[in-house]
């Protein structure tokens, strides 16, 4: 069921008049809307609504993300405060979550070093949380490096087999490579966000106010986060300085060989997401053209990157 998000519908949901409704362009796995709720006591509350897509490419749901967000927010990680989750798709067409809007922008704003150091501290804190104590609804807590890798590869391989539309020898090759080259050691089993970059940070005056988009968060190898964040970090601060701050605040040793495995894994996961989005487009469940665009164009680019990286790892 396709339901448009309008100020009228949102007013019914938040039980207050709604103004300044704005759909954020971009984002292929969820829809995100900003708006203000005007309460009867005269206060204005800036909110964010994040809604699942039908046949969403990431194969994740805001219902799970809400639980993670609540747990990390309570644990003191800078993340938006989640306010409500609605798993019933009949309310707004798809499950959605509401969270409080955080100020700031995805821009270091002339203070790159401060932001880089703050990111090091943030990741050190995240990677120091005890996943078993967090009550974040994680489906699995792997025991070692091999299990970290196997859980991911098995999960995404299953999705790929269910969604693939055409032969893709590069992905067969890639899944085989991932299984044959799993990391053998992990410095710590941690909560990982897996999409840490400036695009998911809200920054103000050199401080990170929020890390956004927790849909892929899970328990795994911190090298996954560090390897992904590194190109973003190196635009802000030298990598050794970042790592020194990360270690000073309790972060586990960075394992570069693991990070390289996760780099290939991430491209494979994203290629599977593209496949799943395209499958939703082809089936008619989600006819938004962005799914076709990503499912064709980005998918091909990722496949090219995957086979090139596997070639480099030999």
């Amino acid at each position: 069921m396709s339901v448009n998000v309008t100020a009228e519908r949102l007013s019914e949901i938040v039980k207050a008049p709604v103004e300044n409704l704005f759909r954020i362009p971009g984002g292929f796995s969820k829809e995100t809307f900003l708006f203000d709720a005007l309460h009867s006591d005269g206060t204005r509350e800036s909110l964010v609504l994040r809604r699942d897509l039908p046949a969403g490419p990431s194969q994740t749901t805001v219902v799970d993300e809400f639980v993670v967000l609540r747990a990390v927010h309570r644990a003191g990680i800078p993340a938006p405060e989640p306010l409500r989750v609605e798993p019933d798709a009949s309310v707004l067409g798809q499950p959605f979550l509401l969270m409080r809007r955080v100020a700031g922008s995805a821009d270091a704003g002339g203070k790159p070093r401060e932001v880089g150091l703050d990111l090091a501290r943030l990741l050190a804190r995240l990677h120091s949380l005890d996943p078993a104590q967090l009550d974040a609804g994680f489906r699995a807590i792997p025991r070692d490096a091999v299990e970290c890798a196997d859980l991911l590869v098995d999960h995404w391989h299953t999705i790929w087999l269910a969604k693939k539309l055409e032969p893709a020898p590069i992905l067969v090759r890639a899944f085989g490579w991932l299984r044959a080259n799993r990391p053998e050691r992990v410095s710590r089993i941690s909560v990982v966000h897996t999409d840490v970059g400036m695009h998911n940070l809200l920054v103000q005056d050199g401080r990170i106010l929020a890390l956004l988009d927790w849909e892929f968060a899970r328990v795994g190898d911190p090298a996954d986060d560090l390897g992904y964040a590194r190109p973003h970090v190196e635009k802000l601060i030298a990598w050794p300085e970042f790592l020194a701050e990360y270690y000073a605040h309790g972060g586990p040793p960075y394992q570069e060989e693991n990070a390289r495995w996760y780099e290939i894994w991430r491209s494979v996961r994203n290629a599977v997401c593209c496949t799943a989005g395209l499958a939703g487009f082809v089936s008619g469940e989600n006819l938004q053209v962005n799914q076709a665009l990503v499912g064709i164009g980005l998918y091909r680019q990722l496949c090219a990157e995957i086979i090139e990286r596997i070639g480099r790892e030999k």
């Binding site: 053209v289 665009l293 064709i296 091909r300």
Partner: protein, 141 residues
Amino acid sequence: MRPTNSELLRGIVHTLNTVIMPDLRSPWPQMVTLMTSRLLEHLIAREEGLAPTLRARIPELRALLANVAPAAAALEAKTHAGDADASLDALVREDDALHVALEILLASEASRAPALLARIDALLAAEARAEPPLYERLVKA
């Protein structure tokens, strides 16, 4: 038939870019219109570039699969690569069948041989490098 599909699509892209886009004020419709325009450009690229791409790579796939037992069945059907009258559908079907054979080969014991795996990797990398003219407009959106 004139105009050709490509000629018609170019006109539609032109209209989207020069009439519709400049009048849109909201970022989401702007982005969706841009993506629609890029998808139409991709259709033009497919119309003009897919058949030559397939004609070039089908013989290379066949050559790789020719001497490997798990993939040999895929080679029984006659090839369309050199047939100037072959339809795009026929070329796509043949290309897909050869790629399925390659998937089977990759899942087999035979692909453990380093020399064969290196050939497969080289072929897949070459295929990936040859494709951007078909897809680059989508990536740039």
